[in-house]
Each structure stands twice: as C-alpha cells, then as structure tokens.
C-alpha cells in the first residue's frame, strides 16, 4: 500500500471519528447536571451514613470498598511482579557494582539539584502524611498521599550524597511496608465480616463528622492504602533505578 493511499484511509477514519465524537459530545448532559440519581444521592449518604465530608472517600471505601480492595491487590501484585522480573535479571555482584556507579554519578550531580532535593524532601513528606490523614475530610487520600510520600523518597535519591539513600530506603523495610499495607486493608475488610456481619462494613466508632478522627474505618483504610502505595512505588522505582545503573557490556 502506497503512503498516499495509507494517508487517505487514515484521514477518512479520523474524520469519521471526529464526527462521531462531536455527535456524542452534543448529546452530553449539561455541565453540573448529571442524569443519573446517584451523583446527588451519594453526598447526603456519605455525610449522614459514613460521617465523612469527602464524598469521594465515602464512595471509594464504603460503597465500592471491595473494588478498592481489588485495586490494592492489583498494585501489590504489579510491584511484586516487577521486582521479581528485574531481580532475576541481575546477580548480586552486579547490584554492588550498580551501587558504586550510583555513588560516582552522585558526585557528578550538580550541587543545586542535590540541595533542592534535600530541601524539598522534608516538606513533601509532611504534605504526603497530611493528604493521607485528611482523606476522609478533604480531597486526597491514601493513593494520592502515598505517591507524594514516594516522591519524597525519590528526592532523597536525587539529593545523592547529601543523604544516603541506603539509610532512608532499606529494601526489606520497603517490602515489608508494601505487604503490611495490602494486608491491613484485607484485615479491615475481614474485620467488618467478624464484627459487623459483612465484609468492609464499618466496625469502629464514627466520631464527630469533620474531625480528624472520624468516619470509622475510613481513616484506617486510607493509612493502609497510603503505606501500601508508597511502598509499591518506592519498590518499583528503586528496582528500576538499580537496573538503570547496571551496564552489562562492561560487566
């Protein structure tokens, strides 16, 4: 097939897709006026039933709490899978070489970059904890806060010799955190089954709506997700970083 014919077919298909998209957009409900009954029902439900001011947290950890459990386990198995694959590709001596190479590279990292990494790591850590802890009150929660926490550790890595990563990121601790986070979520789901009669059912006191300790199991679930997500991201990134520092041709 000549390039001209191929281009003609592609343009025709794109034009068709464009028209279809335009027609679909014209049929959308007006902005701020959803058609289904659920969007308007979920806010009083979260507020009165689960005592959380963030309706998204109410949906994620109560109405579809089991789905969130599935997502947790997907991230967990993805991190384990990536780690197993990357580790099987290299021997122990390779890993030691990689650490040395990282130290050499860190020497060449510009001082401002390292200083900035060291300066931002602390505030980011606090921000991450804040986002996780306030998941039931304001937007955010375990997933977003967990990634922010992971990026704080990443900045420590960028800071290079300013702070040694080996001391902040002991691998076994990261692995344990990831597994503990995923396990804690499962245990809280089972706790509902034991103490309240259904999986994911709340079994902790609700507290006063709008306060830091409110919403029953939701803040605990958020903390579990935060630890798990942070552990998973740090684990995947540190495995990839070790891999990137390896040079097979001169090994």
């Amino acid at each position: 097939m000549s390039p001209a014919v191929r281009r003609a077919i592609a343009l025709a298909a794109l034009a068709g897709l464009g028209v279809a998209l335009l027609v679909a957009c014209l049929g959308l409900p007006d902005f701020g006026h959803p058609r289904g009954p659920y969007a308007t029902a979920v806010i009083p439900l979260s507020l009165d039933h689960r005592h959380v001011t963030s309706a998204v947290a109410g949906v994620t950890f109560d109405i579809r709490g089991i789905d969130t459990l599935g997502e947790e386990l997907i991230l967990f198995s993805a991190a384990v899978g990536a780690t197993v694959l990357l580790r099987s590709q290299r021997a122990e001596e390779d890993a030691r070489d990689a650490i040395e190479r990282h130290h050499e590279l860190a020497e060449r990292t510009p001082a401002p970059v390292r200083g900035l990494g060291a300066a931002l790591a602390g505030p980011l850590l606090v921000l991450g904890v804040y986002i996780v802890a306030h998941g039931q009150l304001t937007p955010g929660g375990g997933f977003q806060g967990g990634v922010v926490l992971a990026s704080a550790f990443l900045l420590v890595y960028a800071a290079g010799h300013f702070i040694r990563l080996g001391r902040v990121k002991p691998e076994s601790l990261v692995e344990a955190a990831e597994a503990a986070g995923a396990g804690a979520y499962v245990l809280i789901a089972l706790g509902g089954l034991v103490f309240a009669g259904a999986a994911m059912e709340n079994f902790l006191p609700y507290g006063t709506t709008g306060e830091l300790l409110s919403g029953g199991t939701i803040p605990v679930l958020n903390a579990a997700v935060g630890v798990e997500v942070c552990g998973a991201i740090v684990l995947i990134l540190s495995e990839l970083l070790d891999q990137a520092m390896l040079r097979h041709e001169d090994a």
Binding site: L154, L237, L240
Partner: protein, 79 residues
C-alpha cells in the same frame, strides 16, 4: 461555561498538541509533564479536586520517572 473553564480547556489542547509535536523522547517527557499539569488544573477548575490530585501524582511523579529510567536503559543498549 466561564472564561476560566475555556482557558483551562485551551491549555490542555495546546500542551497536548505540543507533546505530540516534540520528537526527542527526553524533551517529550518534560512537555508531557506540563500537559499533565494542565490536565490537573482543568480537572480542578471543573470541580474535581480528587481527580486533579491523582492526575498530579501519576503524570508528575510516576510516569516521567519510570519512562526516564526506561529511556536510560535504551540509550545504554544503543552504545
């Protein structure tokens, strides 16, 4: 629809097109990060701060770092 929403939508269109037009993968990653930021601002303006936070986490941290590390691997294999 207010001016703010239109501006954020235009920013998304602009940075999205820019991401496609940049050809060098390393530079493309930086532009893609700005595209992600534009998306996050758009979500925030449309009243979805939760989605905006997730967008920032994914497009500013997870994707660029992983893609960058993959690029390092490719460059080394080319040597």
């Amino acid at each position: 629809m207010s001016v703010l929403l239109l501006v954020t939508l235009a920013l998304v269109a602009l940075t999205g097109t820019a991401t496609v037009l940049v050809r060098d993968p390393a530079r493309q990653l930086v532009v893609a990060g700005i595209f992600g930021l534009a998306l996050a601002i758009m979500f925030f303006a449309f009243g979805a701060p939760d989605v905006a936070l997730s967008q920032i986490a994914v497009s500013a941290v997870a994707v660029p770092v992983m893609a960058l590390l993959t690029l390092v691997r490719f460059d080394r294999d080319d040597e």
